[in-house]
């Protein structure tokens, strides 16, 4: 890629929008995953008593729905990212490619 092409792509509004949207989405979702996971680990480390709470019947402790919820949350985050990316990023990328190629 030569300098002229680099400058051209950098100045495209579609490119700037793509970088901005993808970066903010990626960092927000990564942050959400990290907060949830390390929040869970810190809760386990500093308040283990919390996990002895029984939420249903006599044997279902709060840890089970919480653990499964984290797994489902991780999956939903990836689904959300892919949905957003398929809807917006691919269009923008196609436009950028059309402009420069």
């Amino acid at each position: 890629m030569d300098q002229e092409k680099i400058e051209k792509i950098k100045n495209l509004p579609e490119y700037q929008q793509l970088v901005k949207e993808r970066s903010s989405l990626a960092w927000i979702l990564s942050g959400a995953m990290l907060v949830v996971y390390y929040g869970f680990i810190l809760l386990l480390a500093f308040n283990p008593e919390f996990f002895t709470t029984i939420v249903s019947g006599e044997h279902i402790s709060i840890g089970f729905p919480l653990g499964v919820a984290i797994i489902i949350f991780a999956f939903l985050l990836t689904g959300y990212y892919v949905k957003k990316a398929n809807a917006d990023f691919d269009d923008l990328t196609a436009k950028i490619k059309k402009e420069v190629e």
């Binding site: 890629m1 989405l25 869970f40 402790s61 089970f64 990836t78």
Partner: protein, 551 residues
């Protein structure tokens, strides 16, 4: 092609020889398990099927791109299954169910740690990797830097992780096969080695991927069946499941709660970092992003992989508790311990819920799992040797034919090493190797890779010093840690009190990369920094990226 087929035929004969030998041996020997015919029948069907796939793939594997990246023609869904298959190793299936069986809730905490690296990999890495890379993760790590030092570092880090992971898989495989099939350990390791060399040498990434996909489907189907049967026996009530489990543990409620697995926050966070960033530094996983046609399929593949892995861990959790609740007959116990150890919990449970036939099926699936994961590892190790070391350092003018030939020779070397190490480490305590593999992946491969994609100020010097310091500190701290220092070397109290020292070694790598980059005033540093813009644009848009091959 005829010649290849002849070799394949020889391999089939070679591969199946030990099965016959084993059948004879098992009749004589009193100590080994009885011959498990349903397992052997299903296993032979699986081997036959995968060798046919290898033959089919061999006809389509001509160029280097075919060999390393299956021609770039794998779809997102297929790649999602293959990625999940790489991650759902026998160690992970049997290990996590065994851990739930032993410790209850703590097993779930561990499984969650293994999963959460995947979304991060999707958000920050998958599309960029696809847009920048060609065959190996070193292509991305070395993109704008001086090739030789970064390639050597990445190949070293990659091969170290592959070899350690291989040792864990091969020793585990030998033990498992000895127990399930009544097959001698050395034969079992030889059999695995011969088959994976056949898959990878002839079929390359295409065969490796399809073996992985088939195994992933079989494993998911088998695990689903066990979990449904567990719930059927428990009237589809988790209350009944947990209640029965607690009753079988003499009323001890502790399996329902965390048993102090993360009582030490530093250890817990360090483990989390090792699992999360280690996943994003495993060469056989990273390599799969180059098998899809574009960034869109790359991101879809992580979505599917995360779904399959998450689903699998929920099943593993039900299976582990199901084993506590249902594996009660005296035939499954030697004294008060499970026959074959806690890691056999899922296997015994499959017998309880599905009889001899289903036990055979799950045993064959466990064997297939080992074959598939070891194939992926071998291919990743061979690629590091042939693509990074040979074609980019030793002989920079190598033709594609030369490189592909070296790749096949490298496969033989890595496959032979896997056999030698598998047999050599047979009776060794290998508990440390997985910790070491993940710690190296997180401390050497991951920091260099991620910084090269995100930080414009990184220079060759920073990457090389930071990467090597991460690698060396990982090895040193694991050796001084509780598993090697205390358990294996028996030197008394560990100098480093963490099994996974990733919290420190990852920090060492990142800080060194930063420090030795900002203080680098060389001409090369200027060139490195200037290259960032072009790299960044390609990583975002895919302009100039590798495309899928024509056929």
């Amino acid at each position: 092609m005829a010649q290849v087929f002849k070799y394949l035929g020889a391999f089939i004969a070679l591969a199946l020889l030990p099965v016959a030998a084993m059948a004879a041996g098992a009749i004589e020997g009193g100590e080994k398990q009885p011959v498990n015919w349903p397992a052997i029948t299903m296993f032979i069907i699986f081997v036959g099927g995968t060798l046919y796939i290898t033959y089919w793939a061999a006809q389509r594997t001509k160029s280097a791109k075919d060999f390393y990246a299956a021609g770039g023609g794998i779809t997102g869904f297929q790649n999602g299954l293959a990625l999940a298959g790489d991650y759902m190793s026998a160690a992970s299936f049997l290990g996590i169910t065994g851990m739930v069986y032993l410790k209850g809730y703590d097993g779930l905490i561990f499984a969650i740690g293994f999963l959460v690296g995947w979304p991060i990999m999707l958000f920050l890495m998958s599309e960029r990797l696809r847009n920048l890379g060609k065959f190996t993760f070193a292509d991305v790590a070395a993109y704008r830097f001086k090739q030789t030092p970064i390639r050597v570092l990445a190949a070293f880090g990659g091969i170290a992780v592959v070899i350690l992971y291989l040792i864990a898989q091969m020793v585990g495989a030998g033990k498992l096969i000895e127990l399930l099939f009544g097959l001698d350990f050395n034969y079992a390791v030889l059999l695995v080695g011969a088959l994976i060399i056949a898959y990878v040498t002839f079929g390359g990434m295409l065969a490796t991927t399809w073996v992985q996909i088939i195994k992933a489907v079989l494993l998911l189907a088998g695990a689903t069946f066990i979990a449904i049967m567990v719930m059927y026996y428990m009237d589809f009530s988790f209350e009944t499941l947990f209640k029965t489990a607690v009753e079988n543990r003499n009323g001890d409620m502790n399996i329902l709660f965390s048993g102090g697995f993360v009582s030490d926050p530093v250890n817990a966070i360090s483990l989390g970092i090792a699992l999360m960033f280690g996943t994003a530094g495993l060469p056989h996983i990273l390599m799969r992003f180059f098998t899809v046609p574009d960034a869109k399929e790359a991101r879809k593949s992580v979505f599917f992989a995360t779904g399959f892995i998450g689903y699998f861990y929920i099943l593993a959790f039900i299976i582990g508790f199901g084993a506590v609740a249902l594996v009660v007959g005296s035939e499954y116990f030697a004294g008060d311990k499970l026959v074959g150890g806690n890691n056999m919990a899922a296997i015994h449970l499959s017998h309880v819920v599905g009889g001899d036939f289903f036990l055979g099926f799950i045993s064959a699936v466990a064997f297939a799992t080992i074959l598939a994961v070891v194939s992926g590892l071998t291919l990743a190790g061979a690629s590091a040797l042939s693509h990074d070391i040979y074609a980019n350092v030793i002989n920079k003018n190598a033709t594609e034919a030369q490189e592909t030939k070296v790749a096949r020779i490298s496969t033989l070397i890595i496959g032979a090493l896997a056999i030698v190490f598998g047999i050599g480490f047979k009776d060794q305590n290998i508990a440390f190797v997985v910790a070491l593999a993940f710690t190296i992946a997180a401390s050497a491969n991951f920091p260099v890779l991620i910084m090269s994609m995100f930080w414009s100020g990184m220079t060759t010097r920073g990457a090389v010093i930071g990467g090597w310091l991460g690698l060396i500190s990982a090895v040193v701290m694991v050796v001084l840690g509780p598993v090697v220092w205390t358990q294996i070397l028996q030197m008394g109290e560990a100098i480093v009190p963490y099994k996974f020292p990733a919290l420190f070694t990852v920090a060492i790598a990142f800080v060194s990369i930063w420090f030795f980059s900002i203080t680098d005033k060389s001409a090369r540093a200027k060139e490195d920094k200037e290259g960032f813009e072009a790299q960044f644009i390609r990583s975002q848009t895919g302009i100039g990226a590798e495309s899928a091959s024509e056929h």
